[in-house]
């Protein structure tokens, strides 16, 4: 058994500490040590985006980040997107737009889409497709996902201006 080290971080706005071995990815640590199983393993080598989380304000493939690397950093997972009991606009639009079928890629898309819309809520269809090209979906053909993201962006822009 490898020696574990203590990592201190902030996850979804709360201080969090966990032990992990050098060889454990952030994906593995989130799922096994902190119980946050929302991020999913699809490929374990950075090609599907199902493991997307926010790390210091940037979306990353958590399978390509080591657990030890996040010491002192801020992480947001899909579990931290809804505020108290209210879904975020991205989540609500995914539901109303039927933008998920099996749902395995949905957490990764929601984290990535929110990151994109936080920067640029009125991103065009092409910009959205480009920015989300790192998130694979095999069920939906992306159509309803893109529409849901565009609708969420519109609502976020209206909320900001109103």
């Amino acid at each position: 058994m490898g020696t574990k080290q203590l990592v201190s971080t902030t996850i979804n706005g709360e201080p969090s500490q966990f032990l992990c071995e050098a060889r454990q990815s952030l994906l593995e640590v989130l799922r096994n040590e902190t119980g946050l199983t929302g991020c999913k393993e699809g490929c374990n080598n950075g090609n599907c985006g199902a493991c997307t989380v926010m790390l210091d304000g940037q979306p990353v493939n958590s399978c390509l980040v080591l657990g030890l690397e996040v010491d002192g950093k801020e992480i947001q997972t899909v579990e931290g997107i809804a505020q108290e009991n209210e879904l975020h606009a991205v989540q609500q639009c995914f539901l109303e737009g039927a933008a998920l079928q099996c749902g395995i890629c949905t957490p990764g898309f929601i984290v990535a889409a929110k990151a994109l819309l936080d920067e640029n809520p009125l991103a065009s269809e092409e910009e959205i497709r480009f920015q989300l090209a790192g998130n694979l979906c095999r069920c939906t053909g992306y159509d309803k996902i893109i529409r849901a993201v565009m609708e969420a962006g519109k609502q976020m822009a209206e909320t900001t201006t109103s």
Binding site: C43, Q101, G103
Partner: protein, 759 residues
Amino acid sequence: MSQETKQASSNGKYRVLGTRPVRHDGADKVTGKAIYTADVKAASMANGFVLRSPHAHARIKSIDTSAAEALDGVLAVMTAEDLPDVTDKIADLGEGSVNLAHLSNNVLAQDKVLYRGHAVAAVAAVNVHIAEEAANLIKVEYETLPSVTWVLDAMKDDAPLLHENLYTSSGGEKADTASNVGVHLNFQQGDLQKGFEEADAVVEREFKMATVHQGYIEPHAVVVDWNHDGRIKVWASTQGSFTCRQQTAEVLQVPLSHVTVVPCEIGGGFGGKIAIYLEPLAAVLSRKSGRPVQIVMRRNDVFEATGPTPGAFVRVKLGATKDGKLTAGEAWLAYESGAYPGGMLGPGCMCVFSCYDIPNALVDGYEVCLNKPHIKAYRAPGATQAAFATESVMDELAEKLGIDILEFQQKNAAKEGTRRVDGPVYPKVGLVECLDAAATSDHWNSTLEGPHRGRGIASGFWFGCGLKSSVVASVNSDGTINLTEGSTDIGGTRTSIAMQMAEVLGLDAQDINPRVVDTDNIGYTDVTGGSRTTFATGMAAYEAGLDLQRQMTERAAELWDCNSEDIQIESGNFVSSSQTATFKELATELFKAGEPLVGRATVAPDCSTNGFGTHIVDVEVDMDTGKVKILRYTVIQDAGKAIHPSYVEGQLQGGAVQGIGWALNEEYFFDDDGEMRNASFLDYRMPTAYDLPMIDTIIVEAENPDHPYGVRGVGETPIIPPPAAIANAICHATGVRMEELPMSPPRLWKAIQQNQDGN
């Protein structure tokens, strides 16, 4: 942005059907709360890892697990010796059948490995890293054998033989020499020679198609707890908990009733999660270690060791008169079945001419073993390969005759009364309606301008299964209903099933609480697959609703002191000459007045849904690179009745995009040693959001007479037309007729060069 999406609607006939309620499991899925199998944590759970063959074909001379067993943290190690001997028994899994000896052998190899990735041993340890380390300490001595990975090569007399006891079955008659050819099928109709003599134009082409994978984002995963009382609990990512239970019990040779399968939320299946791979391994490791064991497949193992769908060689010849009437059709098909026999040649042969009325036809097909994983269904199994050939030849024949391709399809379209080459006559079906919808669509009537741009059209057919479903409906005191069912929900079916119950009872979709439960808690239910779930389990929900109505009518008669014949159901309300009550009002009253209300239904409808679809695609080809851009795509399909239009559209769009990937990029690339060189999402290139436009849909509703709401299965047909539609579009854009899948940039570029050199 979308140009056109024609939506199905309730048309005023229904309250709930045709609307778009938010799915019942939605909140869990968008917040990360939904539990998929890899998320399951059992107390003291150990982790497993599977050791797999690096060779495509080899004899196993010895396996030494001692070093693995000695590693700190290892709890159990197993090989095929730990699995019971299973005779050559065929188990009927409801949806397809399986040879148990082959299934067991595929789960863990005994004397031979038949493909790279074939499982050889498994380890359980305190964590997955130690399990993997231990697996790599297992010493396996192999004697490598020559391997074969292309279907035509595997048919040759001197091809390496995979099974010494496999004899070609031709209509049930077995050959007397062993072969890699497991099955030979033949269908005939009319007089082929006469048919071709009557033709004014004939086109014949040969097509090659590479192996492709379903590409579900969630790898296979199981957790198994072999309890100390001999009961085995399985959490699985499965399309069918009951078939999983049966296969697991059979491979382990334990009583069926000792196995419980809990279907977790599932991250895609498309036909690839019906056969088992990991369950018996985790079970035996759990028994040996005394702890629950979780095994999750790595992505490369998913590619190399599950069930991709067959590569194939198909030759199609069609003849027609100068005014566009098909007179004859001949098809020769060779389909891979992978390491074991038992594939999808049958449906391929039945579908190859299924869209058309061809009075004189001959279909000859062969199913061939070779050193690749055992193939499995990918949506409509075997149909896409056949359609690629036929729809390409149709397009070329139309051009030769100088007839518009859509008119050519319409002129020959299968309809009620058309006899398919394998024999049956179609009941009422919707291909003509799909073609008519294509003809009047905005897409077909829009102009496509610009260099190297072309438009293609293709149609497809899939049967749609019926099979068995069970539901139970318990009425709550507030008149809402807990609907218990056994159909794993991969695409929103729990909602479309709930909607059918809501419709019959005059309730809202949100008044029904659908739950997918384990095999101990619901009657037998066949797989979520075969385009059957909204159709068959929905039918069961409808029947259970009727059962509740019958019970409530009798109880209301007691309450209201009248005869039950005096109570009518009007829009779900209970009406007598002097009283009227909604379902909810009556349910609340009855809760105070006697026995609880529980309804039930079981169904086993015949396969009849007959789903036809037509796709239109515009492409632009970069002549310098061979890259194809999809400019516009429209899916037209007959859904019979779209219960939840968003999820019908989702099936159409998702299936079409899988077909686009199949057409343009996806393939298993094998080297000379039979090793797949692109077993990752990086190099097995599936479509991303950036590769595609919006996918428009037109839902045709030619109601199915065999369902109370007219539903036809829709999930599989959408994957059939895309490769041919895109090939046809590429031909119209470049003048090049592609005969190989995928039509990836290097292949298309080369074909363009050759075409230009030829000119």
